[in-house]
Amino acid sequence: MLSVRIAARFLRTSPVQSALIVAGIAVGIATQVFVGSLITSLQANLVDTTIGSSPHITVKAREDGEPVVLSERVRSVMIADERVEPGAVAPVRTASALFTDGESSAPLSLTGGRLVDLDRIYDLSGRTQAGTPGLGAGEIIIGVDFARKYGLSPGDSVSLVFAGAGATPARVTAVVDLGSAAANERTAFIDSDLLRRISGWSADEHSAIQAQVREPFDAATVAAEWRAALPDVLISDWQAENADLLTALQSQSASSYMIQVFVLVAVALGIASTLAISAVQKTRQIGILKAMGLSDRRSGAIFLWQAAILGVGGTAGGVGLGYALIWGFSLVPVPFSIVPEPRFIALSSAIGVLVALLSSVIPTRKTSRLDPIEVIQSG
């Protein structure tokens, strides 16, 4: 591979020029890797905070306050759907109650269901800060801020007042961190049977049936299909309810893509200008090589190989630098960490090398068209 050998020699004999362009590519790719990973991780964190531990799709009765029945038809549509996280279909009963400890009182939003079902949606076991979660008869799981505010811990008893039902005691089994201050202060999970008795509903009647899908962004599509299959119930999805968040995420993605595209354009212009200068600097050598019989194709390939060497070197350096930046970011106290996505980094690397190769098009064509007589005659 004479073209590779010549390309490498040309680069080696201009070490400063070569090092500068490799550094330029490396900085561009590092920015690409860092910004891309940062935005992806930030968005994943935002999505996880918003919906990671809450239902993606909720099925309710059409009339407000009426129960939805977990019929065979509903079961077959929801549970049989392969896009649903296995086991993540939870029939729940919800109610509002007033907590009172004799001195003060606070409203609580209660969700009742089987622990095994609720765990798939809310990950109560994984979020437990104290105690052992349990939702047996008369048991309640409370949020960490609520517990702190009222000095409650597992084993304590709380008194809940339901409209038209008087005070009902419940025993705290666990304190959980639900990921947001509002939820941690206002939300609690309770024995479902207790809520059923208060509402007077039958065993198969629920306030809602909640589900989580494997890919959160499939929720709207899945919900639309379920609406067609189950016209008698009301089906809502997190995407419809969080349109503002989605718009923000999309805007963030768009700005991230813009930054990445402009960085790549800057990298491409940098390589192209360096190679163009190199092609002019090496015109005489290329003319001599052509006079000795080097073909147009192989002459052009010299600059293609230069671009490839610079591109691969710069990209490798850029990925290393990108990882170093991500590591540096991990030392900064922020509520989320950047998780480098190997597929994204592989794609960034491929784009980096491709941009380098594309940048060599002009010098490659110019070189392959060079007539050796121009050089030989000019001495």
């Binding site: 004479l2 004999t13 019989g293 147009d296």
Partner: protein
């Protein structure tokens, strides 16, 4: 005459077009044999370098043909012309045109590296042989830029011989050398010619230099005005 190596037939070369055109060569024809040792002489601007470039397949004639071993080169592709240049012709330019990024050894080996026809061991052997023949064995690892003018020109000659060409075309090869080095270069040409049978066609403006060859072709205003055996050698 020895076996025919080259035939130039009615070579014309016009640069530009219309009123601003320049006629550099005007119907030059001659034959050249295998192993001949000849010079093309002429004043500056007479068209001798243009003729050499046409014979070296670096340039294409406006009309006329250049045949090598009865093969018409006019219809050849750019690639085929490059291959023919690489295998059949060795060039020695006035300004030696070495590659400053490469060592003396690499410069000499370059035509064989371009051809890709020889194994590395054979390339090394041939390059060392050419360097030895030209007294450059001790400078093979040096950068081409680190040599004196005379040494550079000898490297260029070694490079021209690397692929054992049938013909070496040399354009003012001693134009930048002193008398001693000029003498040395022509002795080398003769030595190589007698040892390898390579033909030499040397362009020079200096009749004294041309008289060191066996045949002198004189170009004047783009025309071949004389073609004679060198009587001074007799």
């Amino acid at each position: 005459m020895a076996d025919r190596l080259l035939i130039a037939e009615e070579l014309h070369r016009v640069y530009g077009s219309g009123e601003t055109s320049t006629r550099a060569l005007n119907g030059v024809s001659f034959e050249f044999g295998e192993g001949e040792f000849a010079a093309i002489i002429g004043q500056s601007g007479s068209g001798k370098s243009t003729l050499l470039n046409l014979l070296g397949l670096l340039d294409t004639p406006t009309s006329g043909t250049v045949r090598y071993r009865d093969r018409d080169t006019g219809s050849l592709s750019t690639r085929a012309r490059a291959e023919l240049r690489n295998g059949l012709i060795g060039f020695v330019f006035q300004f030696h045109h070495l590659l400053p990024e490469f060592t003396v050894f690499e410069n000499v080996a370059m035509p064989a590296l371009i051809s890709g026809a020889l194994p590395p061991g054979e390339i090394r052997r041939r390059a060392e042989e050419a360097l030895g023949l030209l007294g450059l064995a001790d400078v093979d690892a040096k950068n081409a830029n680190a040599l004196s003018g005379g040494q550079k020109q000898r490297v260029a000659i070694a490079r021209a011989l690397m692929n054992r060409p049938a013909l070496v075309l040399a354009d003012e090869p001693t134009g930048n050398l002193d008398t001693t080095n000029t003498e040395l270069v022509y002795e080398l040409f003769r030595k190589v010619r007698s040892e390898t049978g390579t033909a030499f066609l040397i362009v020079t403006h200096d009749r004294k230099v041309a008289q060191r060859t066996d045949r002198i072709l004189e170009v004047l205003d783009g025309e071949l005005v004389s073609d004679e055996r060198n009587r001074y050698l007799d």
